[in-house]
Amino acid sequence: MNVLVFVKRVPDTESRIRIDREAKSVVEEGLNFIISPYDEYAIEEALRLREAKGGKVVVASLGPVETLATLRKALAMGADEAVLIKDDRKETYDPLRVARVLAAFARNRQADADLLLFGRMSVGSDNAAVPSMVAEILGLPQANVVTRLEIEGATATAQREIESALEKISFSLPAVVSAQKGLNEPRYETLKGIMAAKKKTIPVLTLSDLGLPEEASVPQVEVMNIELPAAKQAGKILAGTPEEAARELVRLLRTEAKAL
């Protein structure tokens, strides 16, 4: 069973985001970058599948050269191979552009993959669209926001989170699956893993290596503006005993905020 996992390098979720309004982009200087948290569940699931069924785990990412550190972490967790698809464009917020590149990579370089795993979304651009788009481009079935995955030969069943319930999906392989928190508990890198990862070579591909025409990398999403949300003013502190404060709160929610 060969599993291809796509990961993304993103700003730490604890980061404060600053905006360069001229450049219409997020200021990267001073940000700490991590592997997108949901991607860790995808890597862990791939490693577990390899442990149960054999095969290999390949981790790939589209991003700047700094993404090599992100891929190194995936290797340290236990992935067999990692590949960087180098892309010097800043965040485009265009999921189709990313999906076209990843689908071309999967088709041209990893045609033996039985499963394509993603995190349910990359934190930051927050589109949660790339997995479905890659599935569509490759003509594969998809299961998104998955908290449980079972594979039996060439078919799989997954449970995915929907509103107040779980949807059970049955599908054939190869397929695209995106991982949600709860799918598993990602392992930490071991010292041995980190040492082994350092010795591995990470091939670096360009978009033209994937046979993509120049226009395929031009974003279809036009950014007009990026801004910080309006700062909220601190509100009223309600005094008195808990009972008095609770009664006053209910009164204000009804009469002042008109929310109740």
Binding site: E14, Y93, V123, A128, P131, S132, S170, L249
Partner: protein, 324 residues
């Protein structure tokens, strides 16, 4: 024309779909074009009755026994046919689990990009502009989508409902042919659907707890408060979820759900930046915490500095007294 996808679950139309259609009507009016709606599935007449007067000029029904159960491939295929035939300027979906699964599939099928989870839509010189939170709401991104159609998913609980109209929509029925082998995966079962529980992302009121809840019993207490409030759900901070006190489907924040309810109650949640990102667009925020320095107080409209284990029962009593 702007086309709105109306999501049907268990034969019923979801409220978020009506919110989406309402916004489509406003955008269509600003562009001087029609608003139309589409339902996909099988035996849709019950759902159709719910939307006939909701302001769509035409309602398209795309039916097939093979579409009775949701599949992203089958539904995208059906929608692709309609989009090619009617050439809408835009297609709007509710940003629900189904909408967020299906919209990108259709986008890729049509070779266009999309804007996910939008919280505002505007029209300037005949073009649609979409505003969407990025970094879970730490920043707001405004984009246009030059290719046609523009595809967007719209966040639930954000767009106000338009009143129904006296004019009934024209109904256009089509039977969709699904070629053999075109659908390689589909929903076979829905588990744990109680009908009563409301998802945090859809709730009008969210009652959330953090580290100070101390354990699962604390969340039982929050459940009692949610039970006396209309359309309320229990939420939680990452700490509470990672401690195993409540399931991760309740988690609010950058690695959980992003919510915009009418009221967000934060009980014993200090207000880590990744949590604030997920809920600061709530219309009214209430913070209850023993620590007056908790960052949550900085974004709260109303704050109570006290022990939540005293405040929650007092709130339950005060709300019950309203009904009496």
């Amino acid at each position: 024309m702007i086309l709105t996808y109306i999501e049907v679950r268990n034969g019923k139309v979801k409220k978020s779909s009506l919110e989406t259609l309402s916004e489509a009507r406003r955008a269509a009016a600003a562009m001087g074009v029609a608003a139309e709606a589409v339902l996909v599935g099988y035996a849709l007449d019950g759902a159709l009755a719910e939307v006939r007067s909701s302001g769509a000029a035409k309602i398209h029904l795309l039916e097939s026994p093979e579409l009775a159960d949701y599949s992203s491939q089958g539904y995208a295929l059906a929608l692709e046919g309609l989009v090619k035939e009617t050439a809408p300027a835009a297609v709007f979906f509710p940003a629900t689990a189904m909408g967020r699964d299906l919209a990108p599939r259709l986008s890729a099928r049509l070779g266009v990009s999309l804007a996910s989870d939008c919280t505002a839509i505007s029209v300037s010189s005949g073009r649609l502009a979409f505003t969407r939170p990025i970094y879970a709401g730490k920043a707001l991104l405004a984009v246009t989508l030059p290719a046609s159609p523009a595809i967007a998913t719209l966040r639930p609980n954000v767009f106000p409902l338009e009143p129904e109209t006296s004019v009934e929509a024209e109904i256009i029925r089509k039977t969709v042919a699904i070629p053999a082998g075109a659908v390689k995966g589909k929903v076979v079962e829905v588990l744990g659907e109680s009908g009563a529980a409301i998802d945090v992302a859809e709730a009008e009121i969210v009652v959330s707890g953090g580290r100070a809840m101390k354990g699962p019993e604390g969340f039982t207490l929050l459940g009692e408060l949610a039970a006396v409030l209309p359309r309320a759900a229990v939420g939680a901070s990452r700490t509470a979820v990672d401690s195993g006190w409540i399931g991760h489907s309740h988690q609010v924040g950058q690695t959980g759900k992003t919510v915009s309810p009418n009221i967000y109650f934060a009980f014993g949640i200090s207000g880590a930046i990744q949590h604030l990102a997920g809920m600061s667009s709530s219309k009214v925020i209430v913070a209850v915490n023993k620590d007056p320095e908790a960052p949550m107080f900085k974004v709260a409209d109303y704050g109570i500095v006290a022990d939540l284990f005293q405040v929650v029962p007092a709130l339950v009593a005060a709300i019950k007294a309203l009904g009496a």
